[in-house]
Symmetry: C2
Subunit: 358 residues, 2 copies
């Protein structure tokens, strides 16, 4: 938990004087919405982003005991049934003129409460006002009023590659918006890797998610972050096998020399991806031990031939995420990214937080 | 829920007179331990398998209200701290002579309670008595006593491929055990695909997991099973894009013709694997709509150009698992198996069960 707080302080200092919000969707990237958000609130974070209405409600409940004022924004847009959810601490991110109109009608009925954010697409083509709608707003800026909207935002598609030309394309389109729409609103543009692209990308509020959890960005920037997650599991059994034998489902683990195997209580049911079969690795006392054969639902078998027997007996622990392997390292072996490693972590662990939590 | 019950009845009829147990580890393969186990109990299932001690405790609690006698076996073996868990309904699967000794000592202290199962490895090389230990038992069968053990089991590695020669190898090794150890114990060998290998593989108790949930096995046998899971999500926004544009992170979704895109509220944070980027598909009114670009944490963008606009507006639903795409079909697109599709399903859905549940 101290590591998340430390990452938050780092990103805030890199992006000051911009406000530093926190993206805590998907159960704070799998790490636990309540504890993470409360710790960030204690660091002074007051703006939070989630994906779904239910996440916003859960977050509001989690933060209530702190008796501070928080702003929670729902990235997935505005629906009719949001009327029951939005209040002085929850508002949607509006992704179309239709959603803006819906929100305006609602706000005419309910004058108080948190103003919304309007999201303009600048090249991600996922959510946000499209090119036509953007032109309509640029031609008639009174389509959005500060009476019910406080921030204008957009989302970067390629910021983890600082050399990608799309970053400057998107910045051009966003800065044109800022120039035309002007100072009646505040602006938010950078996600985690966007923070590291420099102050031109920061505007009034940055929205880091991944960087808080020590993942994502490019490998150079990631080194500045504190690692947040450790994942270990226990050896259930070891065995000796001879050349020509096989291990695991499909007989896919080939034994090419007299070997010792260790079967560990961790599998794809816990988020250790099947794509790590015959390609991932764990660490015992800092020494890499390769996955042998397929990953099972609850179990994975490691080749521990090169590790002294005294270090890998039943009951000894194997590191899968930690000092020797980051979430992004593990993701590389599975052909994915650290984000998916974290959100895939299951519910069968004993989860412990280090440091102060509320 | 009716589908699971129907699959249970099918497997039981295929394997009769063998007892039909149920494997409900990993939250009943992600589908909900309590409701699934209670439904199976009502079908007459009294033997359950889980992976971990905590799962056994949760299962015992879930079944308590039914006031029937159940036997719950923990596949991951025996530990010192199991002493606090085992009782008249929970016992371990013992994977080594050391674990057998530990269990015997425990049972000498506590005479009552459920007897354990001993697991012999016959070629999976994952858990179970290894070749040396097996030979010790074959030479001296009094190493195991019916006083504290009721079943002898082994686990098939390649049963989903009925032509794999390992199936007969494992059967040979297991039947040798049965012949030498003899009638003092009952025997269990077949997992789901093992049930379909025929009665030679059934012995006294079969242990289906996957087949109950309509997945796994080979494609021919799978057709006999009822589909169990439906996964749908909602379109949040649609947009028109022009040739040369890109969509999503890394600008990886290439637009090669004037297109309409739909962004749906489902992402890898919900278990829609990132490996489905530019390769998976959803279904709208039975028509396939390909994933365009990378899957995000909470969102996926589909190319809906070929579907009438009236069928894909904001608020319309897209099927990802259902009549047109089984968990195993979706898994194929992601380079994995239906098992991992189910266990990866997240906690952000509204989960509903069809049919009677307790």
């Amino acid at each position: 938990m101290e590591a998340i707080a430390k990452n938050y302080r780092l990103i805030r200092s890199l992006s000051a004087p911009a406000i530093c919000a926190a993206v805590v969707k998907c159960d704070a990237y799998g790490l636990g919405l309540g504890p993470v958000a409360r710790r960030l609130s204690e660091e002074g974070c007051t703006n939070f982003f989630v994906a779904l209405p239910q996440e916003a409600i859960n977050l509001r409940d989690s933060l209530q005991s702190l008796r501070r004022k928080h702003s929670i924004y729902i990235l997935s847009g505005m629906n009719d049934d949001f009327k029951d959810i939005c209040d002085e601490s929850i508002a949607p991110v509006l992704n179309s003129l239709e959603e803006i109109k819906l929100w305006r009608t609602y706000k005419d009925l309910v004058a108080s409460g948190l103003p919304a954010i309007v999201n303009f697409d600048t090249g991600m083509n996922r959510l946000g006002l499209d090119r036509d709608e953007t032109e309509q707003v640029l031609a008639n800026t009174s389509l959005i009023s500060p009476r019910y909207v406080n921030f204008i935002m957009s989302h970067l598609a390629c910021a983890d590659d600082p050399t990608h030309k799309k970053n400057e394309d998107q910045l051009d389109r966003f800065s044109n918006l800022v120039n035309v729409i002007g100072g009646r609103f505040k602006y938010s543009f950078a996600n985690s890797p966007g923070v590291f692209l420099g102050s031109r990308f920061h505007y009034d509020m940055v929205r880091p998610g991944a960087a808080l959890y020590g993942i994502g960005c490019n490998s150079k920037d990631r080194k500045k972050l504190s690692p947040v997650v450790e994942l270990k599991s226990e050896i259930l059994q070891t065995r000796s096998v001879t050349t020509g034998e096989t291990a695991g489902y499909g007989a896919d683990g080939r034994i090419n020399r007299p070997s010792r195997l260790a079967t560990v209580a961790l599998g794809y049911g816990d988020g250790l991806f099947r794509h790590l079969g015959n390609s991932g690795r764990g660490f015992i006392s800092g020494q890499a031990v390769p996955v042998l054969g397929r990953v099972s639902m609850d179990l994975v078998t490691l080749d521990v031939t090169d590790v002294p027997e005294t270090l890998c007996k039943k009951g000894d622990w194997v590191e899968f995420i930690g000092a020797h392997q980051s979430p992004d390292d593990l993701a590389d072996s599975a052909g994915t990214i650290g984000y998916e490693v974290l959100t895939a972590l299951g519910n069968r662990f004993r989860k412990g937080y280090l440091g102060t939590i509320s």
